[in-house]
Amino acid sequence: MTSVDENEMYMVRQAQSLRKSDPSSAKAWILTAKTLYPNAFNVQYEAYLLERDAKNSEMAAQYFSIIATNFTNQHAELWQEVNALTSALRNETENTPEQEFYVKMYKHLTPEVQHSIFVHTISNCGDNLQQCIHSYILMFNKFPKTAVTQAPRLLEMLAEGMKADPDVYQRMLVEEVLPLIQNKPPELNPVLACRLYTNSLEYYLRQIMDDEKCDTTEAWKNIFKVLMLCGQMMGWEPFLPFSKQVNQNVYWDKLVKILRSSPAGSSQVLFYATTLFIYSLHGYIRKLRIEDAEVSHVLVEGFIDWTPEGGEVQSMDWTPEGAEVQSMEPPKFSATTAISQELSEAFLHAARCWQLLNTEQFQRDFSQLMLALPLAPWISRFLFDLAIYFGHRDEANKLMADMTTQSTLVQSLQILSLNLMQGSMTLQGFQCILKILAELPATSGQLLENISLKSHRHMIFLPLTKIALIQYCTRAITSRLSRMLFEPNCSDRLLGDLLALLQLNPDKDILLKQHIFNLITQRKSFSLHILSNYIIATDIIEELAYIWNTQQQDDVNFELTGSPTGSSSASGGANTPAAAAAAQPRRIGTRGADKGARDEFKSLIRQQIARCNEHVPTLVANFITQEHLTLVQHIFGMAPPVETIVIK
């Protein structure tokens, strides 16, 4: 140490010793030292500290400028201060008093010094990527002009950082950097620009998926903004800005227009279409789930009215070959609930984009993009729905395995729907019905319109409500059973069970009921032992009473209740309540009708009418559950050990 250094240190020490007790004297020491050793860092730094500790921002700025200009790259103390300064600048709104001082001091620095602080900070960051990025961001904030030339470097760093920690750097990119370069996007190499857009998209999608309180409209507005920005950087034809009100057709039309004027596989179409696809997909998924409607919805196969005369134009009893033919023409969506329309639109938009993106020109790039984005839960659901929409049953079955997050209720329903698509009711399908009925949701809901249509295949967005589910299951059974009416020698029990099922929707299936009553009337002998337990619908009871009365005149054995006769009775009935009720057989027959029997019949009718306020859907559901063995026998002509069927 030279004597000059010693003297210099002596004076600094003197100043330090007086810093607290007599700041003026301390400053006098430093002032003197500065005239003696103008190039000594320690002296200048002490001068700065004195002003800093006195909260004298203007003077501190003056000294800071001297150090920052003359002693860069040398002193740890200086960088400590620079870091304190930059971190204070970073969050100006929530600063400690100490940090506020730095902010004030910064304002007193000349722009040159301010700028050089950032430049030096950046060049001194070394391996500290995050700090470096922060410094860039700060510099762009304070010196917007620098963004034009320096932004590409910063964006490269962000892309670099995302490899290690996507969350942090995506947030920085989206929340901090993009707003800075928004007004004057820099020129960027296309690969990087695309990557940055993908990263931003990923960031917002995570936000949408993970944060329930996320304002999705805002998020989409931002996504479109970033898309525009990246498009600008790559010289793309501008797309439309986001607006919640804009119909998705408008976006689609614009996309088609761009598509026509672009070379095959062009990245602008790829990114616009992908964005549009995800937007529609999000709309679809959101509407399926509870977010937008009161209840969740599940896309299922609709029913087709069946008449023996005309048959079906498109039968549900497709042969596999027939299925392929029919799949050429996509099904319609039935307007079952208020939200059906929106759901189907969102679905079709997503499907349209999906198809475009899976054409050969985009397929490779698109599948790469999909891998990068956290869309798996949405995509698997969408693809499954898409498969059943197009009637690709095998594919749907495969996709079923990917949907791990679903409830068993939804799963059962989807399997049922798949089975129905296949055509005839299967054991698996029937098992699903029982499962669904076993875990009905609490939400009551209401009966749906249009779940069965004439003539063409259609899809239904089934709300997960109690009544809608019962209706769907019931319909699945009746549409099967009703065909058996036209087979010769259908059993009494089949007619009775159908009547019980048809109670659910008294205004519908008039023709079918009429047909059943005709069959009953034609029979010389008829037994309806489920009457007292399950039939309470007034129209049916009235009709039965009428038949009973008219049949009395003829000499037929018309038995409305009583012991099971023939093979039509349930064989395993001993386990069910219905069977228990039938354990005490009562015969109200027309043969040898006496007054007693007539009174008994009347009281039975009265008793059933009195029950007309019971909840019919629950009754029907109970009927299916309790009488499932009989129903299985109707459908499959045997009584298989249902309990042992395991649904996968």
Partner: protein, 351 residues
Amino acid sequence: MCAVEALTRLETLIASRNKQNLAMQIISEFIFLERAKDGDVRKMQTVGGISQMNIYQEFQLILALIDYFSRPGRDDTRNAIFLSLFGSHLTPQRSRLLSRLISTAVSGSVAPLLSSAGTWMQQVGCKTQPSLEVAQNIVSDFISFSRKTPEQLRHLPLVGPHFAANFMVAVADLYLNEKRGGVLTPPPDALLDVITEWTTENPQLCQAPQQPLVLPAGAIAMPFATPLAGLLRWVVLAPLVSNRQAYSNLHLSLLHTLLKTVNNGESTPLHAQDLMQIVTSLQKYCAHLAETKVAPEEDAAYLKCMERFAQAVQIALSSNYITNHIQLLCVLETLPHHALMKIVLAAHKKL
């Protein structure tokens, strides 16, 4: 009332040099209402007449003068009249009147009058008896008899910077000056505070007298003295009598002044002689220490004095602010050892 008219007449008289005597006569007779014992006008100017003014008349005259100087007019005329009214040799009555007039001007912030008074002070010399009396009187009026320093005094550098600077020169001479009674009398605290405030907030104040004076034709401008020399003596010698923090502040403020007024050849430098007085006082103190067998190097007061002295010398030298500095350095070397002083001396001997 005749004074008002007289003042107007004086304006024209003073413009012509050969009517000086008449002007003086008018001043004596109609303004100060003086009567010579023997009626000799010429004698009156030197010896002074005996005024017959009563307190009420004095009061009226002050008002008339304030009023006159407040009117718009040329600076040189005003300065000429002021100098004619109050020369360098004043009768006790005129001196008393002058003090009152200036105190009144300070309280009333009468800028033109204070400007003339500043010129007057410089012309008669800030350290001459009349100036010192005026300064002493301001201290009495505004510091000693006032519980709180009046705003008017605190703002004096803004109203009359020239006057304030000259006032500082004078008042600096009044305190901590061994030439006055052989003892170091510290200034009143309030005065010290005011001076510190002035110099801190108006770093150029100590150079205020540097502005050229506006004088009547033919008059020779007197050189001005900077208050720095006297104030430096205050802060350097203060540790011998007081521990007040205010001296540190004033010291720092003076250092800033020294640092900022780098000598460009125009500003008044510090003369080595001005600082010699400090050396003398310190030597005397060391002699006193020697009597009580205390080494100066172990005496806190001495060390503090030297600390400030060395700092001031260093900064003044670095600003090229001291004339004849070789002589000063030689004298400083004779003082008992002080680390910083040694560094400073070493630094400048090399040059």
